[in-house]
């Protein structure tokens, strides 16, 4: 690129930054949000590629890319080992990380919007526990009780069971915590703890009943890990996650309006009840599918939306796509930490997100004590 062109581009960027600063001062964060989303796309892509390139074993990505683009076996540019490591281990893991991270973050955003509170999160208020119960119920009681479910859904049975568990919990929670269109945050959190504990107790009973093989399945599944990622898991979870994520942008206007209260949203022309139903089902589906394939991974749904609100504001039209991107990116990063920090052994990713997320959550509490009515 010639010097003058680089200079012109630099000046355009400076002008853009000045515009954004001026707009920010007048309360307009729309363009800032769009720029942030573009940056997040780049960051997500870089993280994705980076995570495929790093790992305990050496494997050359460029060789595999060359193979993908048609270099034949005779060219000797790749080894079968490289190909397996990258295409069958790291790639599905990165894809699953992206999917689950996006799903957890967006579920957090939608739930927070719906309950009008920045502390609502499927993991925190027991929805994930409910989804776990659904999944464990399926693993332990298995084909004896749920034969027809297996017959009907095939390998979708686990995500579907987790979805049903999550949905029942979310509906109960909504019924308990919302009265006359107003949600009490104290009731929400406490009811979430109670429901989570109840779901945990039922799960405990099931584990108690389980035989050795089932126990093994439950334990491995429940560690909260992307370690078991493979294309079959992705095929089971991706349609549900992608479908529920695809719905959420259409909720954005309604979620914005509902921040002023359900009555005000109705006054502004939002069909509130229908919007809530769609939101609840999509949160339960996204959470259920994520829990089904990766166990309990906490705090993504709270940390990501909160960070983004600090930068681009709470407008859901931008917050939803930005959260999906940052959620996926952060989960892949956390997974990279999980599998390299004690290499060649692996830490469950749930531990990493808890180490980052829990202190962050405390920080939100301390910072927002006055504004959140706690």
């Amino acid at each position: 690129m010639p010097r003058s062109e680089a200079l012109a581009r630099g000046m355009r960027l400076t002008a853009l930054a000045a515009d954004i600063r001026a707009e920010w001062r007048s309360g307009n964060r729309a363009r800032l949000a769009r720029v942030v989303i573009v940056l997040l796309v780049i960051l997500a892509a870089a993280t994705f590629v980076g995570s495929i390139m790093t790992g305990a074993a050496d494997a050359s990505l460029s060789n595999v890319v060359a193979w993908l683009f048609g270099a034949s076996d005779a060219d000797q540019v790749f080894s079968v080992r490289d190909r397996i490591i990258i295409l069958d281990i790291r790639l599905p893991r990165a894809v699953l990380g992206m999917l689950v991270g996006a799903s957890l973050a967006v579920s957090g955003v939608v739930m927070q919007g719906l309950f009008r509170n920045p502390l609502a999160d499927p993991g925190l208020v027991g929805v994930s526990s409910g989804a776990s119960l659904g999944a464990v119920l399926l693993i332990v009681l298995g084909s004896a009780v749920f034969g027809p479910l297996f017959a009907l859904f095939g390998f979708y049975a686990l995500p579907v069971a987790a979805f049903i568990g999550g949905l029942v919990t979310t509906l109960l929670l909504y019924r308990i915590a919302t009265r006359g269109g107003q949600t009490s945050i104290a009731t929400l959190l406490l009811a979430g703890i109670a429901l989570g504990a109840l779901a945990g107790a039922f799960t405990g009973v099931l584990i108690f009943m389980a035989d050795d093989k089932q126990l093994r399945d439950v334990t491995f599944w429940g560690l909260g890990s992307l370690a078991g990622a493979n294309w079959t898991k992705i095929a089971a979870a991706a349609p549900i996650i992608l479908l529920s994520l695809a719905v959420t942008p259409f909720l954005a206007r309604g979620l914005n309006a509902i921040t002023l209260g359900e009555a005000a949203a109705f006054h502004m022309g939002i069909p509130v009840q229908r919007m809530k139903n769609i939101a609840i089902v999509s949160v339960a589906a996204a959470t259920g599918a994520s829990v089904a394939v990766s166990g309990g991974i906490g705090f993504v749904g709270i940390v990501v939306p909160h960070l983004l609100r600090l930068v681009i504001g709470p407008d859901h039209r931008y917050l939803i796509p930005a959260s999906a991107l940052l959620g996926g990116t952060l989960l892949i990063l956390a997974d990279m930490i999980a599998r390299t920090i004690a290499s060649p052994a692996e830490l469950p990713i749930g531990i990493v997100t808890a180490f980052i997320g829990a202190p962050f959550f405390l920080w939100i509490l301390l910072r927002g004590r006055t504004t959140m009515g706690l």
């Binding site: 007048s26 309360g27 307009n28 309006a257 002023l260 709470p314």
Partner: protein, 263 residues
């Protein structure tokens, strides 16, 4: 025209509005007054469509509320609630622009102008960049009014009058802004729209309202021009305190001083 006919409303298992009927015409500011708990806000909620009618009906420009979808209603009337708490860090500009959701136009230039005008109209010209949560109660109330004005920016649209339903629009405002907001409501009426406001300040009401509806215990006790409604007799019957209604000689606007009361 907003017509309320034989309206009863049930709230929490109890009928709190008992068969009231009145009409609010475009071009007029209709004020609903009465003691605490007499059903003023409930009436307004039934008119906005937020609460269903137990019996009777509410119609807006000749169409029964029951047959109107939320977005259709949103194009006919805007509603200002008593107070609005927001738990997310929205800027004033963002809150006001939420009113554009109902969307008369999608032209960004026109929308920018509507939002800026609305903020100007409630005397919050320089506040666009401030955070809603950091404003005082009175300022927040005015931001919400600006948001409603964004939704119903033209008092008449497609040849039909539109309405503002205001629940205690000046309850937390200083005296200057009370006058600003009441004048704004008046101007909305003069331009062909209609306003129904729940009010507490009888003197402001007398000054600005064309019609006054005085309620007690879920029923209408008196209605008409402020001069006809505000009498010593109705004051005692409705509020249960004997006081003297006076009139300023110049304009003939009645006023009533708490100093004249005996409880």
């Amino acid at each position: 025209m907003i017509s309320v006919s034989n309206l009863s409303v049930r709230l929490g298992g109890r009928v709190v509005i008992h068969g009231i009927s009145f009409e609010a015409a475009p071009g007029e500011l209709t004020a609903i007054v009465g003691p605490n708990g007499c059903g003023k806000t409930t009436t307004l909620k039934a008119i906005s469509g937020e609460l269903p009618a137990e019996t009777g009906s509410v119609s807006i420009n000749g169409r029964n509320l029951k047959g109107l979808k939320p977005w259709e209603l949103a194009l006919k009337r805007g509603v200002l609630p008593q107070s609005t708490v927001i738990s997310f860090p929205f800027t004033v500009r963002e809150v006001v622009r939420l009113g554009l959701t109902a969307g008369a136009t999608s032209d960004p230039r026109a929308n920018d102008r509507i939002a800026a005008d609305a903020l100007e109209a409630v005397d919050l010209g320089g506040f666009a960049g401030r955070f809603y949560q950091e404003l005082s109660g009175g300022e927040q109330q005015r931001v919400q009014l600006a948001r409603v004005l964004c939704q119903i920016s033209d008092p008449v649209a497609d040849g039909e009058p539109r309405y503002l339903l205001l629940d205690e629009p000046v309850s937390s405002l200083d005296i200057r802004h009370q006058l600003t907001i009441m004048q704004l409501a008046r101007k909305f009426c003069e331009r062909g729209g209609g306003v129904i406001a729940v009010m507490h300040d009888l003197n402001l009401t007398a000054m600005f309202a064309d019609r006054m509806i005085m309620m007690k215990a879920g029923k209408i006790r008196a209605s008409g021009a402020p001069g006809d409604v505000l009498t010593d007799e109705t004051m005692e019957a409705v509020f249960g305190c004997r006081m003297q209604v006076s009139a300023m000689p110049a304009a003939g606007v009645p006023f009533v001083l708490p100093q004249t009361a005996t409880l």
